[in-house]
């Protein structure tokens, strides 16, 4: 199987993500340039963290209009797997592939720290290698990670079990204190109703090697591999 990591001007986690997928997880991985139209036959598109287009206008707002993102939108509609990390999550929200929007963090601070998140749903292609209730220690680094959606949308995503990760404390309790950016319902990661597109604010690629303090992020990449290699066919 093959991963594709999208590069926008201002992406800064693209190479880290590429390294983890290729060298640590050990799967074929290519870079996808934002101006191209070709997804190069990848099975999973990863939108990496960073500050695409300098976060001008709103985080992710300009990146969504790039030529490649039109292909990514069509790919997702065909059932292809898309993973958005941090800025990638923001782009998926702006693109409308995921519901809701991001507001500035509740304390108006850029947050760069390890957090704990809890797997809320383990029957997804992004978490099947993990267990419901499992606590992952993964870093965040963002200014706009305060997830917002109208109440009706929150009701829908709860009912459809689209909430994949919630911020929690080290004991796995979802508390206001653990919800560092003020996200509604403590949402740290969210998927679409179909289950093929997920965005999360924490950076699993920064927590995939023991040398860097945590390997917990690997579970997301391994889940995708399990989901796709077991199916034995491409979504496209």
């Amino acid at each position: 199987m093959k991963f594709g990591v999208v590069m926008f001007p201002g992406s800064n986690c693209d190479r880290d993500t590429f390294h983890v997928l290729k060298d640590v997880i050990g799967r074929d991985t290519v870079f996808l340039w934002h101006k191209d139209h070709d997804l190069q036959g990848v099975d999973v598109v990863v939108l990496p963290g960073g500050f695409s287009y300098g976060d001008y206008l709103r985080s992710g707002a300009i990146a969504r209009f790039s030529p490649l993102m039109q292909e990514v939108r069509a790919f997702a509609r065909r059932g292809g797997h898309v993973l958005g990390i941090c800025n990638g999550f923001q782009i998926l929200l702006e693109l409308g592939l995921l519901p809701g929007a991001m507001l500035r963090n509740k304390d108006l601070k850029f947050l760069c720290q390890f957090v704990h998140v809890r797997i809320e749903n383990d029957r997804t292609d992004f978490t099947r290698a993990g267990k419901k209730g499992q606590i992952l220690r993964i870093p965040i680094a963002h200014f706009d990670g305060n997830y917002y959606a109208p109440d009706k949308v929150i009701e829908d995503i709860r009912r459809n079990e689209q909430i994949v990760f919630r911020y929690c404390n080290a004991d796995g309790k979802v508390t206001e204190e653990a919800n560092v950016n003020g996200s509604m319902d403590g949402i740290a990661g969210l998927m679409n109703a179909r289950g093929n597109v997920m965005g999360l604010m924490p950076h699993p690629e920064r927590a995939s090697e023991a040398l860097l303090g945590s390997e917990d992020g690997q579970v997301i990449f391994r889940s995708l591999i399990e989901a796709i290699e077991r199916k034995g066919r491409k979504a496209r």
């Binding site: 206008l57 709103r58 707002a61 209009f65 702006e94 809701g100 929007a101 507001l103 500035r104 963090n105 509740k106 304390d107 108006l108 305060n146 917002y148 959606a149 109208p150 003020g182």
Partner: protein
Amino acid sequence: MKVRILVSFKDSVLDPQGQTVKNALHTLGYRSVKEARQGKVFELELDKISEEEARKLVPEIAHKVLANPIIEKYTWQIIQDE
């Protein structure tokens, strides 16, 4: 023609930056400030366009790009005719 578009958070959306501004104003003694909301201003210069066309074009641009309709609203006006 020049138009000005004002984008701000919907009333239902918390505006932490506006709130911080309000708190700062209170600290400075401006107790009469009841609420503060922060927004963005865009000025677009439109070439060879009638007012009627502008009334169609500007809301389209505002809705599609300048504002995120999930959290933001906008108003606009013509500030300079051709």
